[in-house]
Amino acid sequence: MARVFQLPVTTGRTAIAAPAVVGSTDRPRPGIAAGYLAPHPPHLIYAENPPQNEPRSTGGWEVLRWAYAELRRRLTRLRPDVLVVHAPHWITMVGHHVNCVPNPRGVSVEPIFPHLFRYHYNMTTDVELAETIADCAAEAGLVTSKLREPGVRVDYATIGALHLANPSWDIPVVSLSANNNPYFYAEAALDEMEVLGAATRRAIETTGRRAVLLASNSLSHLHWDVEADLPEDMSREHPFSHHQYQWDIRLLDLVRTGPTRAVADFVPQHIAQTASETKAGSLTWLLAALDWPAIPGDVLGYGTIIGTGNAVVEWVPEEFSDV
């Protein structure tokens, strides 16, 4: 990847209210208050039947949805200024892109699951933080781009994680792309994701935001290639293979014991064994942004969706553990 430039962090281009002064009595301290592994299969939103999504369901995948309910309860307590999401289905072949459009809105019809996901989105971007992340990533040597074109359809992995974490959409967001190539099953360069994670952390610190991060990844990723007539028929839902299940549980055992470095070191093996969606780099980005805390993660739930493994996991840095 080419090494590029850096713009100094500037002020005066916020599209939303700037955060309060650090140290004020009524405002939580800035930093990354928590990070979540936040899987995005559209089945979860479909099962929730929110008004933004056109298709209707009879439910399904409840255990994972209950895990998200717990995430939402904790998120309320964390009181973040912004949610930052890295998602594998905004695929950018050249570089790491940051959505800097102030108010992305439209209809996202998912080309793979159009029968499940036709979502009317209306997001508020924390433009200052978005631009600062792009600047910090460029300064760190990554190829980057700031998306300013409002016509780009927001993908379901971005919407999925953000909706399930905060269906009221009342917290500004920043959306990062996955630098990848869809046409030959490419894997993200995980070392670059570490750089992007560190750049994200630096941008959050620079702007004084209190952020919660979402890594929009499933785990094991081999799945059925046909679908039941009723997509939410849970009698058809189970791990694609015992092998995939075992490797997911090995990863989650490491998550539950920590430290996060051990998890990251295990990720390449897990990808090789399960075609894990973490190959898109979101989990590595998240742990790097958290600066590799030596803490366990809290697995809020695990379940399969069309055979893929999915877990909702929370990491809260020690300095925020009293929240």
Binding site: P111, I112, P114, V143, E149, V152, F184
Partner: protein
């Protein structure tokens, strides 16, 4: 009747650079070649185009487009900063052929998924190819997705199902596969004049493949496919080729009208006359 069903076939690239206002020499050559292939195919008087684009990739079953008039604007999620990243489209679907194709796919034991949704995002490859092959939109299309997990044999059968559907309806069809060759994209922002195949080894593999296609040795090309895919990171493992063969769009020697780089990847325009 069956001999006249397929009036010709083509392999064309789907990268939007072919529509650039200030193209690299390679992009210009490739675009002109696609225009030429379009003229040839239209001159053979098909009723419709049977099309697969690797940029419409899916994972569940084989999706068949049934919207009679997909239209809209596509802002490409990677190339939005360039003129060629903004694409208007207004396509016509031969819905009877598409329905019949879906039925044939079901009949041979695979799962067809009928797709007809407002705001459904048509992929960049389909838009680019259709605009160059048929600038005046004289031909309706029948489109199928490229399932990421379908093996070469499955895509052969999807192609064959398309021809069977056309025969059943008495349609004359042109068969078009939209795919690149090697996928080694140049991972940085470049000016058009800098464009070259990102890896010399990829270029050699592309040439080897195109040599087989030009010689009409499709069996050898199919045998080479897996090794080529590993060595040159071929676009969707070059599964467009078994689809083209199954759909009888690639028969005998193909004429390679152009080949060259698009942002480091390999691309070629190949025409097979009936």
């Amino acid at each position: 009747m069956s001999e006249a069903t397929v009036v010709g076939g083509a392999l064309v690239p789907g990268m939007p650079h072919l529509l650039a206002a200030s193209p690299a020499p390679s992009w210009k050559r490739l675009a002109e070649a696609v225009l030429e292939v379009g003229s040839r195919l239209r001159a053979a008087n098909p009723d419709a185009v049977l099309l697969l684009s690797t940029q419409w990739f899916t994972v569940l079953g084989h999706q068949v487009q049934l919207d009679p008039n997909p239209r809209g604007q596509r802002t490409d999620e990677n190339w939005y900063a360039y003129d060629f990243g903004h694409l208007d489209y207004d396509l016509r679907t031969d819905t009877a052929l598409a329905e019949a194709w879906a039925a044939e796919i079901d009949t041979v034991g695979m799962q067809a998924r009928r797709t007809h949704y407002e705001h459904f995002p048509i992929d960049t490859g389909t838009v680019v190819a259709s605009r160059l092959l048929d600038p005046d939109r004289t031909l309706p299309m029948a489109q199928v997705s490229c399932n990421l997990y379908a093996d070469a044999d499955a895509l052969f059968r999807v192609g064959a199902a398309g021809v069977a559907a056309a025969r059943r309806l008495g349609r004359r069809i042109a068969v078009v596969g939209v795919s690149g060759l090697s996928s080694g994209l140049t991972p940085r922002w470049i000016s058009p004049k800098e464009d070259e195949i990102s890896d010399p080894a990829h270029e050699q593999w592309n040439s080897r493949l195109l040599g087989l296609l030009a010689a009409g040795d499709l069996a050898a090309a199919l045998d080479l496919r897996e090794a080529y895919s590993r060595a040159a990171a071929a676009d969707s493992q070059l599964r467009v080729l078994p689809w083209l063969v199954g759909a009888e769009g690639a028969v005998g020697p193909g004429e390679v009208l152009a080949s060259g780089p698009i942002w480091g990847t390999g691309a070629a325009v190949v025409h097979w006359p009936a």
